[in-house]
Symmetry: D2
Subunit: 368 residues, 4 copies
């Protein structure tokens, strides 16, 4: 039996002998890149304080167990279906979760979801100091209030729902022109909004991916295909300020169902940090054989564009495969170019990357 | 994105393309026994309406996915740590979950946890029509109110917490004498209360096992060792009335961490329903070889008491193993007796069961 | 340490305390259909006696653990790459595995792979009494020898390999005309040969699916997508004779990567045996809600053709989902028709099946 | 279909569309320690060339997939139950596996098992150049032959089998005195030989742990409890020579069923490399809270000996848990001492280790 006292920290160092979700953190395998920390962030989720199904502290526990660095609880400002039973104070979710977040070393960012008919739809404002001022009727006033708090604002699920969903309207154009709209969810849950992705690139909006979870998360181990959709924020430091700076600077990658979306330079940096080809260790019939190591959480899918090497290579997350490269007549190091079909800088635009194959380290006398 | 409308049934027949807990029900493998339905029940759990962390409908969804037949949400009557934010109406958890339970075909039993200092400790009253009358100061009046509603009442976690925990006091004796205490949790979460088990047998109290869960359940597949602690109720029909009749008649088994506790006749009936030895199909060096099939969710652990057969047999849940029996000189069918070390009628008292080994079905000419 | 004595049966009733593959059988979930036993058979695999990598007894152990009923070891007659180290006696694989098969209750069928250039390619002959006579040079003589032993013969992987692969040549036509070719592998490993499937239907050849495994199988639990490709043989009895009769009668289904291939009547019988819609138990807004149960190992994928019900339904293997059916104005039982997109009687021809929805069993007074 | 050509390297860079064991390598999580590479080695296993059940190349494939660095195939010299069908050439297993090992970058060490009655029992000789000279009748001559090749020799499973098993006889004493016996298997499969462990310490023999596998390995992911028993060799370089030097120098750890055995200095070095306590990040009621990270493949089990901290801590392999330390009145850094109950330098002698807890990095103004 666990008798929970409100506001009291309960740390289970030794499992409390119950069948339940284990309180152990597992890291997510994405290396730091390009001199930045790769922070794993989910900036859109709900609790019982709007239409979600869990208490705010649950969001912190989930984030910690799942290896996240930062979350924002973004309950709907205008939509409170539990209002007969639960407080409608807009700041309560943050306040209730804050102590738990400090204990678990999770960066908790105060946020809220601006919830209007579609179009224009829903928007998240994060880095707020007080959500209450955003509870106003006028659409444009909300964004002014968010801007007054230096919030980072992004358009949510730009394809949901109804016939008008995803349309870039004058309303969007206006808040964008005012500098009050900074990003767009190109992925929400397991849905990739390709049109939203195109807008984002066209309008230079920051790429965001979120879970938008309402219920509790399960505790199955993640696979490359089945995981929480996240924004990887490339931050100078692991702090709320670090995330804010990186978001406004547009240093994000979006991880959704075994795909990674982002700017070409960020994708290239992640590929370089994650993939290593070891020096070929064997030779067979004019080919050298080398180990290719994948140190990230994607199952990487490669198609050859030029140079020696297999036409397709698939390297599971965290795994190593063997690849063989045709030896060049002059003994030069191979430099094959591959298309990474699940790292995309735009719809239809996969990353192209050169594999760095070191010079072979072969034994002197290698029998057939 | 899933925009949840309060009180509206949302059925995901095709997965809604989000990483989240799948809405698929998996049955729990315990066969019906002795002419009764084996109903899987959890009669103790919490929600945000006391010190739990999930909305009441989550308890129904979990129960359905996990293969349960019935649950009782038993929020604390006297302990409401979320009272600043959540309604203290004692009947709300049931009311909010009832429609969801009808939709998911889960039997939802109205209940509550009577929460006093230890001793006497905590008690659950279930099959209530109205929880409110139980919110009274006088300890004995609470039980009179429960009795007035024909509730089934059991003592919770009789070993928690503090130096006095688990002591059978005059208070317990009095409500028991009045016929107002009917059962005891011999298992709560993953804890087996051996003293509580002894009381239960001594006082003829009904054996109950519950999860007492406060947080969300995960969604890892259950193993024989790691699963939700349940009461298996042997009921004449799958209905609230069927469960009530069976509980008052004491027809229960308690499943906790790969052990099954219950009355000897119920354990024997479950063993007989779950275990089959097929007719031996091969012969080798004076021994016959047969398949032993385990059709229940326990990893069965057997130790030989008498007769032919291996000294120990372990049959994983749902699995089949091969066993060899020494042939009797007169060709009689073997009838080995085994101790089932994880089916216990009392602390230290494992079930003894005879394996029914049919006559061999061996081919005529069986070469060495 | 396990010191293995040749030819001695070692039964591990209690795990022998080693990390290794557990000797426990897990059944494959396909119900018996249409009055027949559904036997799980793999009729194509190799050992060290041709180009495989395991000892013949390993094939029996794998089959038993994986829930199979019957296997045929079909080492290449003409291709013996291990001939410097291993006997080339064509009957040894069967002889070495036979005792193990009796002990494990696996039906072991003597077979061999006729291995010629492509075209005509490779063929399996099974139910042989002696493989040696098939080791002859003349192509047509091999088939005469097989026929003389009443063998069942099928064309292997009709699409492998080279530009000529899968072509139905005069050679095929001739042995077919002579009644010496009876079936074709429409699936081999994870490859579905669509052209082979078309030939099979055109020429009235029996549908076969096999693993053609050369290495050891792993021991991960199977998923609907990842499993050993099998032929489900609908046999009047579980015996070699039962399988032979069923094969010559063409009563087979082929299970490959979450698809089931077969004649329409066999597919329909399997669907009927595997799928149950329970009587609707709840009503909401003019719709009734019912549980749909899938008792087979396929993740079933349904698309509505006519009648009430969701446009698409996905029911994981062994799982239950909720579906809602629009109520007909006159209260008649619903009878929706669905296309089962992963049960195919020919390339592009999914099974169409009517769901049997029983009359609702709803409580008298069902509040909104 | 996969038609295997003898001696030809087949590399599957893209999965060959068959259900089978995936050809992907997963590393084993044990960090390098004390300036040495931590090489994962299994120095005892069998193939069809004695009483094993797989072809020699299978041992290389398994080793590569499972993250090993080196193996030795050690078929019995005197025990050849497959002699009717398989060559008895003592050097064939090595010769057949050598090319595969080069391709997969696995260090293949030529070895053999000297197989005598018990006592004295079985012994492995590794780093041989030619196994044939060891096939001699005289017991002592065998060891002279091994010594002539500078072999490393260890006593196998010193507790198997029969009443005399595990007895240190004059024969053992003699070869030991001659410098012809260097190590002892303290773990073989999942069995820990405690007496063997005591001998090893008493006689200063090198600690070895092996799988002694005869059948194929499965492909389930390893858990902390269920994995192949290995010797972790602390080598100056990843090469056969590096392993030889380290073995003769006694730099080994033995990993068996979530326990690590070894010399105190090696265990301490592994603990230090694997465990990190981060600087406390939060404070609550006179305690600081910090993350404890476990970077090795053991589920670490800690019991407090002295200093602040929880009485027991369990940190799953690769996981992070939160621990709270009582703050010292003078603000000094905490330095709690823990017993690591599953890192043992001798039977009954767990490692004691001080946790390095850095000075807190707490925010200036930390609200309650």
């Amino acid at each position: 039996m666990r008798f929970r006292r409100a506001g009291v920290l309960v740390l289970f160092c030794l499992s409390a002998a119950t069948f339940a979700v284990a309180q152990v953190r597992q890291e997510i395998r994405f290396p730091d890149v390009a001199g930045y920390r790769t922070l794993k962030c989910d900036l859109h989720m709900h609790t019982v304080f709007s239409d979600g199904l869990v208490w705010p502290t649950v969001r912190v526990d989930e984030a910690w167990r799942q290896g996240l660095d930062a979350i924002s609880i973004t309950d709907h400002i205008e939509y409170k279906p539990h209002r007969d039973d639960v407080s409608v104070d807009q700041n309560r979710p943050f306040e209730l979760a804050a102590a738990r977040a400090r204990e678990r070393n999770i960066i908790l960012i105060r946020g809220a979801e601006i919830t209007r008919e579609t179009p224009p739809g829903h928007f998240n404002a994060i880095f707020l100091r007080d959500v209450a001022p955003l509870e106003v009727k006028d659409f444009f006033e909300v964004f002014r209030q968010a801007a007054a708090q230096q919030a980072f604002v992004f358009w949510n699920h730009p394809g949901w729902k109804g016939p008008e969903a995803g349309r870039w309207t004058d309303d969007h154009a206006r808040i964008h022109a005012e500098g009050q709209l900074h990003g767009v969810e190109i992925c929400n849950g397991n849905t990739w909004y390709e049109d939203g992705h195109r807008y984002a690139l066209e309008k230079n909006l920051v790429l965001i991916g979120t879970s938008d979870e309402h219920g509790p998360f399960g505790d199955r181990p993640w696979t490359a295909e089945e995981h929480r959709t996240l924004t990887l924020v490339l931050a100078a430091e692991r702090s709320e300020q670090g995330i804010r700076e990186a978001l406004f600077a547009g240093r994000t990658l979006v991880w959704c169902q075994n795909r990674l979306f982002g700017r070409p330079d960020h994708l290239a940096a992640m590929f370089e940090a994650a993939v290593e080809v070891r020096a070929p260790h064997a030779r067979h019939k004019g080919e050298t054989i080398a180990e290719l190591i994948n140190r990230c959480a994607l199952d990487l899918e490669l198609e050859r564009v030029a140079g020696p090497g297999p036409s397709r290579i698939r390297v599971p997350a965290g795994g190593t495969v063997l690849v063989r490269f045709r030896e060049s007549p002059d003994g030069d190091a191979a430099r094959p170019v591959y298309r990474v079909t699940n790292m995309l800088s735009a719809p239809g635009k996969p990353l192209e990357a050169a594999l760095q194959v070191p010079a072979p380290e072969l034994p002197q006398a290698q029998p057939g």
